[in-house]
Symmetry: C2
Subunit: 340 residues, 2 copies
């Protein structure tokens, strides 16, 4: 029984997130139920695949943002639940396709769709989830809602393709990186918070503030993810570090490392990135840590989180707004140790 | 110079189609230009891929249907051009993903996206085209338009996944086949004609008739495609016959062959389908021809075309309506010889 008294960081993180989302935990259960119901909306031949893809131990961060932005600006109504489902389905679609691109065997400890059913079914499964999400989104009374969702979805796809296209591209700049992560990750966070407010007909400045909040939080979250891939705990992450580097994805710490290096070092680092065998990847990870490039990326993420926090001032004070603030704090607590 | 006097069936077919679409040939050029312009709406990093995927020698049948349904019910306005672009982009997205599933190297004589850039870019390129189409579709004033487009797109994806899931499934019934082709192919034809009329606020019975017209034409077109894959001219098609069978796709002629055979033959045919080496495929193609299964499939397609024609009676008479009728006739002329 001794092990149960040990601190499990994953459980800690989940507990922290649960505490942060306290005002909407009951509603999140209901979102979960609605997400599961989506599978039943499909043809029986498709239902099983969809059910598998959306059943997950995911954090449902995007739905949480949609609900919190709703609560912060008025009632959390049926439209907010719809919005929560739509953003999560779009996210689920991108995960299914990402796993094909990466040839990933597991996600959150479960076999990926491509590992279970091959690439053909998985390409189509992602398409189905995506089409279904956009189908639901056309059900909103206010056409502006489906318009913005479709724009965000297009941004996500474009961000992903640019990222893929620029693998191993040493000319990738830090602004290029920002643009990619804002498209592929932050756009969906931003549309969740923006539309959470828009559905409540919040004043334009509140809608804009919540959109910016979501965008900054999303970018910070992606940088966190990228830092963990380089500097996380292999045992905890359940995967080898540097997997982005192996795939040629140049993330912020590596871009900082290149920027900070003198020409000679940069030459050597570039070569290691392009050759990319396991020994090179380990050297690069160590170099990014030693040179303070990881620390600098953490500092950038924390700066984005402060920018997110600053937006909250415009939003009327209530427990949902406070929860948005705590969400920023929770992410800051998660990323800060990597900058120490 | 002798060869130029020979009849080239491909040129003949193109000429027949062009004559059929005479009332909208000028507008189709404009659609072509608009389709090309779409590439420029993307981020520069994505533009080149999109341009390649939508630049094609395709027949632009779906845009033609949208315009003709518009002309048959009133003015062909800017909304019809938008609709034409949207249905073609959705179609283009499915082609990009289909080519990944099939590992196809060429389409219409050009290297496929996956042959040029690999599967990763192609998965995302299809996603981008799809997302962009749905983004445009949310621009229609009438929310019902984007709603029906999203529904059709979801049907296309579901049809594709069911077809893929049921490869080599000898329990596939003829009604299952109809359902699959109605979803994967006819849905997009049907939404093009339906919305062409809806955008002109045509009476409900005309909208329904044009929708049914598109659905039947689409199903007949898919059966034609499936017959050509079995019984076409290898040299003309530029591909080996029986490619559907090799992939385990059980199309109407094969389903009829199974249905018509006595238990012993059915057993043997089933085995040949499952084993599916080149010799087996040739035997099956021959058997489908000899048993009249191809002829029966042709008869079914022609019946669907007559059902399409019957719908036209409800539509007010004008040159666009006549063109829709001629389109049915052109397809009938194309498929009839296979039933001889």
């Amino acid at each position: 029984m001794q092990s149960s008294t040990k601190t499990d960081p994953a459980t800690d993180k989940a507990a922290a997130l649960k505490a942060t989302l306290e005002p909407i935990n009951a509603q999140l259960y209901s979102v979960e139920e609605r997400i599961r119901q989506q599978a039943r909306a499909f043809d029986p031949g498709v239902e099983g695949y969809v059910a598998y893809a959306i059943e997950s131990n995911g954090k449902r961060l995007r739905p949480a943002l949609a609900l919190l932005a709703g609560g912060a600006t008025g009632e959390i109504g049926p439209n907010h639940f719809e919005l929560a489902v739509v953003v999560e389905l779009i996210h689920a679609a991108t995960l299914v396709h990402d796993d094909i691109l990466d040839g990933a065997e597991k996600r959150r400890g479960q076999p990926t769709a491509n590992a279970k059913w091959g690439n053909a079914i998985s390409v189509l499964l992602g398409d189905c989830l995506f089409a279904h999400a956009l189908k639901i989104s056309t059900g909103f009374q206010n056409g502006e809602v489906s318009r913005r969702i479709a724009h965000a979805a297009a941004d996500v796809c474009s961000g992903e393709i640019i990222q893929t296209q620029r693998r191993f591209d040493l000319k990738l700049s830090v602004p290029d990186y920002y643009k990619i992560i804002e498209m592929k990750t932050a756009a969906l966070f931003g549309v969740a918070t923006e539309l959470g407010a828009l559905l409540n007909e919040a004043p334009p400045e509140v809608i804009t503030a919540l959109k910016t909040f979501g965008l900054r939080l999303g970018s910070a979250y992606q940088i966190y993810d990228d830092v963990v891939d380089l500097a996380g705990d292999e045992a905890k992450a359940g995967k080898t570090l540097g997997s982005d580097l192996r795939k040629g994805k140049l993330t912020l710490p590596i871009l900082y490392l290149l920027q900070q290096s003198d020409p000679e070092d940069r030459q050597r680092i570039s070569q290691q990135i392009l050759e990319g065998d396991d020994a090179d990847v380990s050297l690069l990870v160590q170099a990014a840590l030693d040179a303070g490039a990881v620390r600098n990326a953490v500092a950038t993420a924390r700066k984005l989180l402060r920018e997110a926090s600053a937006q909250i001032a415009v939003v009327p004070a209530n427990k949902y707004r406070d929860s948005l603030g705590m969400l920023v704090q929770t992410l800051d607590d998660m990323i800060a140790p990597f900058g120490a």
